[in-house]
Symmetry: C2
Subunit: 416 residues, 2 copies
């Protein structure tokens, strides 16, 4: 008998029909004798609707009150799901983040989990009950209701799975798994049957939206095997585990694209200690999420520093950078919103030299100009013009043998 | 400096505009230097919408999960109201029933308040904050979220006012106060400036919907002066206090009508000990809310027992009564859904004999047949055909001098 944590996202429980389908699936899992802990998100667009309502009521939205408001969405989902389970003779009980003992810090809107107590869940499991837990929320050390920020329900599921020593954490979403590329951009993209945590982390960092980076990090650190799959097809999805790739695995797992960032370049920056800190400290203080940073070698005592930020943060970033550029006596600032990031991710890169060179050659042959480059041991990212995004992704997908589909992937390990 | 508890019902916070108007009023109250604790209901029809959603998801709705679901409505209201207050530079903080320490028994859906701790409210008030508390909810001795049932937010407000020793509890609703009759039925009805708890209790018991009976009982037992008024006009409403009526007060305060009940008669009941218990015990066990009970004097060893129940409970009541009638060997059962209850309420009745006789004469002269009679020291209720309801109410309103309006009421005591 295994203990399975299942997380259902907002689209999986968007309406009464979907809610009942999820209840059917939980009842099915339960009928195999496994213990089940379910983590649910708010129904469909309900969180967005609450934010809209708040905007209509007030220009000022204290974080504590915003968290109090938004956490109602998951409570509605979890209680309705328990009712649907009761209809199927499955004994289920819902718990808020607070009731489960998900203790967080006090940063409203983006709280970090400090501890998962889980006593009530353990008791309910011992009583033979299915536990349905509100995702995205916790209670702070100051006894206030908090939310975990974007992708918070994934984090709740993984943290609970770790605390309870679950055998697997299934993440149900509206896609059937992790793909070798975004199928809307690269039609030949195929679903990966298996990927390791480091690759998944790089993919999330490179812009893949399937799993929140924080939840993957948590799963890796606590050795929680993840299974990303669809609540619309219920077919097996992608396993994310700590297994190292075998010889049969492809060198490259996927091409990740991200068109949500913009580029800022500070020109003619005096080449002396402290200028980078002077630039990035105020951006960090303003919560601007700086992604790639590239600094060229100094020529003639000055250098150029380029970096990317989410388009949404651009307005804030611009003001800060203009101020700093003046105070550090840089020659000027330019920015470009029409850029895109294309990344190759693959654990095989570590043992397979020449991937970067081949990537650059493929893009050059396609006439795609590379504006910025950044690498890690298992990822290479380039910034290109956004008009080149599709072409670049497709040509790389083909060149690295990803078009031929599952033949390049490792066989699915024997798991349920 | 006074401490005022203000309770806003669902229509008072039905949409962002209403919510902002309420925030303006709270800010206004606060600007006079008073401490304010606010109790809010769920917005408009949101509780009904949640119930509808639950019905769509499941046929079985465990009480615990239903309470988890329904309590989200007040949480949404309270957090939005705090945001609107922040917009007005009023430092406010919201609390759930659980956070306030409203401890209830474990009867989900109709929990009773056992204790109000209120520590967090006292601390927040001492910090100069306005406290906004979710109505209708508490936390049980088993640490589960509970709801207080119909009119629960009124009860929350009064219980909090009692626990905090508030100077007054203002109940804001969609009517401007307590009226001498329902203005939709008796156009000459006027607003009462003052009424005492006993009268208000009898009015609530007789079918007046302005205040929930339970909250009036609580207010009387804990000496909490109530002020019922409208959040649409903000004009002074009706004070409900423990003051005894003076000589200048009218003998009758109001005519209360109730068309929400049906009548059941058990015919030819053997006149022996235990038959009433045999009849009403199973009804109570099934949560059927029996109101008036009338038993005629025994003739020839048998008697008839008539009683009224809410129309909504009629189906359940019918089945139970048919069973019992068989087992106690009654002659038969009849029922009538087309009845209405008309009541005269007035504290002056105690010292003014002949009110009942005059009431019966007035109805007789109008040709209204009386089916059942029940009395208390300050109330006389009769059951009539529902088609006679309007005529009976109007003629009584006129006959007891209520048409002439506020001239018959005591002057408003000097209160804010």
């Amino acid at each position: 008998m295994a203990l399975i944590v299942q997380k259902y996202g907002g689209t999986s429980v968007a309406d009464p029909d979907r809610m009942r389908a999820v209840a059917d699936h939980i009842a099915f899992t339960r009928s195999h004798g496994d213990d089940v802990v379910v983590v649910v998100s708010a129904m469909g667009k309900s969180t967005d609707n609450l934010i809209k309502l708040a905007n209509e009521v007030s220009d000022r939205k204290p974080g504590r009150e915003m968290d109090m408001l938004l956490t109602t969405g998951e409570r509605i989902s979890m209680s309705l799901l328990c009712m649907a389970l009761a209809d199927r003779d499955v004994d289920a009980v819902s718990f808020t983040g607070s009731q489960v003992g998900i203790i967080t810090d006090t940063a409203h809107g983006k709280a970090k989990i400090l501890e998962v107590r889980g006593d009530r869940v353990r008791e309910a499991l011992a009583d033979g009950k299915v536990c349905v837990v509100a995702g995205f929320q916790g209670v702070s050390t100051a006894k206030e209701i908090t939310t975990l920020g974007r992708g918070g329900s994934d984090t709740t599921a993984v943290a609970l799975a770790a605390a309870l020593g679950a055998d697997a954490c299934e993440i149900y979403t509206d896609v059937t798994g992790v793909f070798s590329a975004d199928p809307r951009i690269v039609p030949q993209a195929h679903k990966l049957t298996h990927i390791n945590f480091d690759e998944m982390l790089e993919m999330a960092g490179a812009g893949s939206k399937v799993l929140a980076l924080r939840s993957v990090e948590f799963a890796r650190n606590h050795h929680v095997p993840l299974h990303v799959r669809s609540s619309f097809t219920w077919e097996p999805g992608t396993w994310v585990t700590s297994e190292e790739p075998s010889m049969e695995d492809p060198i490259i797992s996927g091409v990740v694209t991200d068109a949500s960032e913009a580029k800022v370049t500070v020109l003619g920056v005096p080449d002396r200690p402290g200028v980078s800190a002077a630039l990035f400290e105020p951006l960090a203080a303003a919560n601007v999420n700086v992604d790639m940073i590239v600094q060229n070698t100094s020529t003639a005592g000055t250098t150029d520093i380029s970096f990317t930020v989410p388009l949404a943060d651009m307005a804030v970033a611009e003001g800060i950078v203009a101020d700093v550029a003046g105070s550090i006596e840089a020659a000027g600032v330019s920015h470009d919103n029409d850029i895109a990031k294309v990344s190759l991710v693959g654990a095989g890169m570590k043992t397979s030299p020449g991937i970067a060179a081949k990537m650059f050659r493929v893009l050059a042959d396609e006439g795609v100009n590379i504006q910025m480059i950044s690498t890690s041991t298992i990822r290479i990212s380039v910034v290109v013009a956004s008009s080149d995004l599709e072409r670049a992704a497709r040509v790389l997908h083909t060149a690295f043998g990803l078009d031929s589909g599952q033949a390049y992937s490792a066989p699915l390990p024997e798991r349920r």
